[in-house]
Symmetry: C2
Subunit: 189 residues, 2 copies
């Protein structure tokens, strides 16, 4: 079981700036759900905002629209199997937390659960923009609390080491990349 420490909101964008695949959790009216989303990105630094694409067919969408809340969980490679599984079944048919034996913890601000074993977590409040939700399945959120596994993120910087935990980046058809080597390019001036 990994740890979880708070991340300052102004640094929260760094958890997803490099484009990892995320797991979206939601909760409303006594029901929670979990799905994966390849399409998400930061939208602003401070206050941090995010954008994520949530298809009309998903059970998650109704929970987010009703509750006005969601969590973006950033899985490690150890959770790649789970990431595919929760993207291939619907919460309208099955309780995925029970089916897949998914351990969760409570967030600090929103009611959607945090998935244990992730590298980072962004608790978000939906910024309601009905037109783009309807026309493009595009959902915006303000990050209201953020967390990271201190083994991989020191509060401001990723620490990805040989043999260590890494974020995953979905392509298609069950095919992923894990994140690779880090490197620095200094500004010229």
């Amino acid at each position: 079981m990994s740890g979880r420490v708070p991340v300052e909101l102004s640094k929260a964008y760094r958890l997803m700036n490099h484009g990892p695949t995320v797991i979206v959790t939601s909760h409303h009216g006594g029901r929670s759900n979990i799905m994966s989303a390849a399409w998400s990105m930061p939208l602003d630094f401070d206050p941090p905002k995010v954008a994520v694409v949530i298809d009309k067919s998903t059970f998650t969408r109704g929970l987010i629209e009703a509750s006005g809340e969601f969590v973006l969980n950033i899985p490690s490679r150890e959770l790649a199997r789970l990431t595919v599984d929760v993207g291939s079944s619907s919460g309208s048919e099955v309780d995925k937390f029970t089916s897949y034996g998914i351990a969760t913890a409570a967030g600090a601000v929103v009611k959607a659960p945090l998935v244990e074993g992730c590298l980072g977590w962004l608790e978000c409040r939906l910024i309601r923009e009905p037109h783009i939700q309807q026309a493009y399945d595009l959902f915006l959120g303000e990050v209201v609390a953020a967390w990271a596994d201190p083994e991989v993120f020191d509060g401001a910087h990723w620490k990805v080491e040989a043999g260590g935990k890494r974020s995953i980046h979905y392509v298609a058809g069950g095919h992923f990349f894990e994140i690779g080597e880090s490197f620095d390019v200094s500004n010229r001036d």
Copy 2:
């Protein structure tokens, strides 16, 4: 100099599904510009659409709003220095193509140039959504032509090999990851 072959539009999302940092090129009224953007994502499969965040302070923004077109170029690690440079200077002050000696090619549909040496290119037509452009700096586009370096993308799948070209994934402060090892997780059913 790398090659460039067309990518079927229905497969174009795969060029950016794994969250690479992109370079945005634009052109209007005889002026072209180039900037980097850490925040972009696919928005739909077919017809493919994309979302990208373009700050109000950028020269690029005016060119995109005026022309209704842009290109998302996906740089390799060899272009990481350039990616930082074009993100740290403004086209309102300098012609970055000349200053940095950037080689370009013409696209097939839009007038914004393709940056040579990239791994993939998405020619896009702006989907005008003034409210979210103004409120969130969020720009949507439909991909109208796509290209890839055949050394790294075979038309449907990435081919990232040891020592080969790799996409780059920006974090902050000149710090990047390159994409790492690929792996497959099959569906259970």
